[in-house]
Point group: D3
Amino acid sequence: MEKENTRFKNGLNALQNIDGTAGQNVMDSLTGDSKDIAKYIVEFAFGDIYTRNSLNLKQREMITITALLVQGDTAPQLNVHINGALNVSLSETEVIETFIQCIPYIGFPKVLNAVSVAHEVFKTRN
Amino acid sequence: MEKENTRFKNGLNALQNIDGTAGQNVMDSLTGDSKDIAKYIVEFAFGDIYTRNSLNLKQREMITITALLVQGDTAPQLNVHINGALNVSLSETEVIETFIQCIPYIGFPKVLNAVSVAHEVFKTRN
Amino acid sequence: MEKENTRFKNGLNALQNIDGTAGQNVMDSLTGDSKDIAKYIVEFAFGDIYTRNSLNLKQREMITITALLVQGDTAPQLNVHINGALNVSLSETEVIETFIQCIPYIGFPKVLNAVSVAHEVFKTRN
Amino acid sequence: MEKENTRFKNGLNALQNIDGTAGQNVMDSLTGDSKDIAKYIVEFAFGDIYTRNSLNLKQREMITITALLVQGDTAPQLNVHINGALNVSLSETEVIETFIQCIPYIGFPKVLNAVSVAHEVFKTRN
Amino acid sequence: MEKENTRFKNGLNALQNIDGTAGQNVMDSLTGDSKDIAKYIVEFAFGDIYTRNSLNLKQREMITITALLVQGDTAPQLNVHINGALNVSLSETEVIETFIQCIPYIGFPKVLNAVSVAHEVFKTRN
Amino acid sequence: MEKENTRFKNGLNALQNIDGTAGQNVMDSLTGDSKDIAKYIVEFAFGDIYTRNSLNLKQREMITITALLVQGDTAPQLNVHINGALNVSLSETEVIETFIQCIPYIGFPKVLNAVSVAHEVFKTRN
């Protein structure tokens, strides 16, 4: 039980450091039968994965926003993680540059979608 | 014309530095009507995009292998770019760790596919 | 001609039993050149496929909402088929549980999207 | 029943005209429980769709190979339909040019995959 | 430099002929760090690709709207290119028929999404 | 620690019951840096998700093979989970029927790919 608590505690910590209130809002929207999804996001995604060594949080968020852009149909998650990327100190330029690097591999449409979410995020934060 | 030559020359330079012979093999396989695709890969992907500022080549290859993993059906391209990632000095550990970071966002199957390509590449190089 | 009529009649019957007015609304929106798409949905999807043996309608809707979740960019169709799933007597818990089962195979973002559509549907029906 | 027979007969006719023996091989591989899939391909895909007006077969195969390229993980189907495209008199140049047109919209990897299938098909036919 | 100018000039010309003000709006929305994406769309997508021989603009837009439909999560880009398709003289019937041809290869949901964007475009133009 | 052990133990138990030696082979192939992926598959996918209530294992495998079919580029995982589906007593007919139900939602190509994997699995087991 100790260790399980540790996974949740570490995960919540990571989630709050990275995604701030945006991440908390996603958690709060998961109630009733879907409450366990929030638990798994905290314990598994953040407790197990984000707290690993070998890559730092800037690198992990760069990978995450790339994965979301390429997958498509992820505007709400991109919003959370572009905020997360900026929170762990990627610059706005680096966020856009990450998206530009994806052009040869997935084409312009999904890049334009991601840039459009980024512009909203940048405007809200500035 | 000067500048066009520059794009091709810079692109070929970047391609050779990053992907080495694996990249050259892809180019050589594009003959006849598809020869222009090789030209666009050199000029646009490598000449225009990889030579940009704001991100270094380690970061660009980390983004690229993430984009290829998430997109799926890209084993040959992953092979080339896992090699590229190691060539620009990502460690094997960082390559696998990049794939692990994708699990929460795309699930296990595509991560297992990418790890399987990585293991082949690692074995060939060692 | 007999048989063709049968396919359409059986399909319309199945469509109305499963998707109710939501399905009818989709059909009604398909006018002019796209009217034949409604015909194919009725005849082929519902007349040929949903009326087959070996799986019951609960199983068919479970498969359908899984296919829509994984494919992505299908919020309107998920809305129709989460309603359909509940109409053929899957419980709200079983709908959410179907989505949770998808996490290891497609990751959290598409599951969160589907859960968000499900919550809208549940609220409208209750 | 008349009409049903007509759908199957017209579909088989279209399938044989377009895909030749390659299409027949796909049909023949579908036995037992999956035999009905062959029936639906003949009746629906070929009997209902390919025989429609407003677009000719060259246009329909151009759309089909684009859809297969973009979707990914469709090498066997691309093989059949690149053959189909050539059978209805698209030139090899037009097939490759169709793929090149996709680069801005889906990126290089899936285009390279499709070109690689095309080169196999061209070699087998020449 | 001459040639580079030519790529941009030819690309802008093609973009304006095909996509009209809708294309220009996309360009105008790309400012700051993402301004270069507009440059690449003009130079590469339109300057390099759309101006090639072997296929005419009607064929290129047919391929493009197919690629966007199949890829999914591309409603804004479909809007621009359905307009583009009509601008280069595809008929509304041919646009819808292109989407119908995709049903056997990608299923109904993405076709319904594309038809829904098309209906909006048709209404705005009529 | 107790609880963590429980997750792993329960997960391994579920994995062995469902996927048998095929699942074990996947685990064994994950060594070195990727060993933790095996741990996460056991603890999270099987320990957390497959052991949940509300759906039985037949339903969970039906959802899983649907998710793998729709996602594409998952032949090795489909092989494991078609075996898993049969192990938890879905019939061969139900497996194929699950795939047929996907035709209207994702089209024929990915269904044909999954059927082809299923035929290999059926042959190996009989």
